[in-house]
């Protein structure tokens, strides 16, 4: 017999996910005040746009490195044109 999911039980999971993701979004907002959100844990840039802080990747085809020191507002370095 095909599995059936109880709608109330499913809504509880959605509520749990919303709680988890809301916390993630709050952390993202806090982190964005001191660290570029496009910079990953390896200090590589994941942005699809140019930025003056980008440097050549260490390996061919890899992500560009971020040389931003996060002491200044990183958004000034983003290329917007």
């Amino acid at each position: 017999m095909a599995e059936r999911v109880d709608p109330i039980a499913w809504q509880q999971r959605l509520d749990r996910m919303t709680e988890l993701f809301s916390s993630l979004v709050q952390t993202a907002g806090e982190q964005a005040t001191f660290r570029c959100p496009y910079k990953n844990r390896h200090d590589e840039c994941t942005a699809a746009f140019g930025c003056r802080n980008q440097r050549r990747p260490e390996t061919a085809g890899g992500l560009r490195l971020c040389r931003g020191d996060d002491k200044l507002d990183y958004r000034d370095a983003w290329e917007t044109a």
Binding site: E3, L14, A32, A48
Partner: protein, 251 residues
């Protein structure tokens, strides 16, 4: 109370020991993972690593083996995301890694959706999301999409640099009731208004509710260009989408 050695998955054990510093959180995760089957632990581990292909495969296998969808959610996908949240809060990982984990979660949930549908549980609405023409910034949009999917919306992500025609095509193709547009640049913000005008010109404006957001966007700007709503962040985006989806259904 379980012990860390009760967690069968070596990766999860090492993650807890290396990254979870608060004793109460460590104990909660150990209990959670120790009470989960090795298959569910493997899903959680793949999600924490952001490996969407592995989550896809492991979720498929688990459901085919008869593991209930809610168990996959609780002990696999949500269990993994709980650890992701702690690592992010403590700055061991950052937004790009979190978004990779969210993509992995979506890969797993894709296999649960048919079971929900067969149970009579449908998405709240279909939402088309994209960053407007000329704009390549996508973090805010991607966080909104993560929140919307977690809240039960079906989201079609058009990516960045999306033209008005592409927004229109997507709304028609997916019969979407809600459209979300993002812009980070003051120079690309006007393209939101141009997209809304394109919907008017195509005689489709009444068919879709349009919400906008992005760092330079304000409620006043949203009102001026004729949007139906403005969300200041990803959390507000979800509440707005719920209200607009309800309005669309009532129209």
């Amino acid at each position: 109370m379980a012990d860390i050695t009760d967690v069968a998955n070596a990766f999860l054990r090492s993650e807890i020991e290396e990254f979870v510093e608060r004793p109460n959180e460590s104990a909660r995760l150990v209990d959670l993972y120790a009470g989960a089957s090795p298959e569910m632990q493997a899903i959680a581990a793949a999600l924490v690593e952001g490996e969407d292909d592995d989550v896809d495969r492991l979720t498929t296998e688990a459901l085919a083996a008869g593991v209930p969808a809610l168990e996959v959610m609780d002990n696999g996908l949500i269990a993994g995301m709980s650890l992701v949240g702690i690592k992010f809060r403590e700055s061991f990982i950052f937004v790009p890694e979190v978004l990779a984990c969210a993509r992995a979660m979506k890969a797993g949930m894709a296999h649960i959706e048919p079971i929900l549908s067969a149970s009579g549980i449908e998405p709240l609405a279909t939402v088309i999301m994209g960053t407007v023409k000329g704009d390549l910034h996508d973090i805010g949009k991607n966080l909104c999409i993560m929140m919307l999917r977690g809240a039960g919306f079906d989201v079609v992500d058009l990516g960045v640099d999306v033209s008005p025609d592409d927004f229109i095509d997507a709304v028609e193709e997916h019969d979407a009731g809600v459209l979300g547009m993002s812009a980070l640049l003051t120079t690309t913000m006007p393209n939101m208004g141009k997209t809304i005008e394109a919907f008017i010109d195509a005689d489709l404006r009444e068919r879709v509710r349009i919400m906008v957001g992005g760092a330079p966007v304000t409620q006043e700007f949203a009102d001026d260009m004729g949007a139906d709503g403005y969300g200041k962040d990803a959390v507000a985006c979800v509440e707005l989408a719920k209200a607009l989806a309800g309005a669309a259904r009532g129209a």
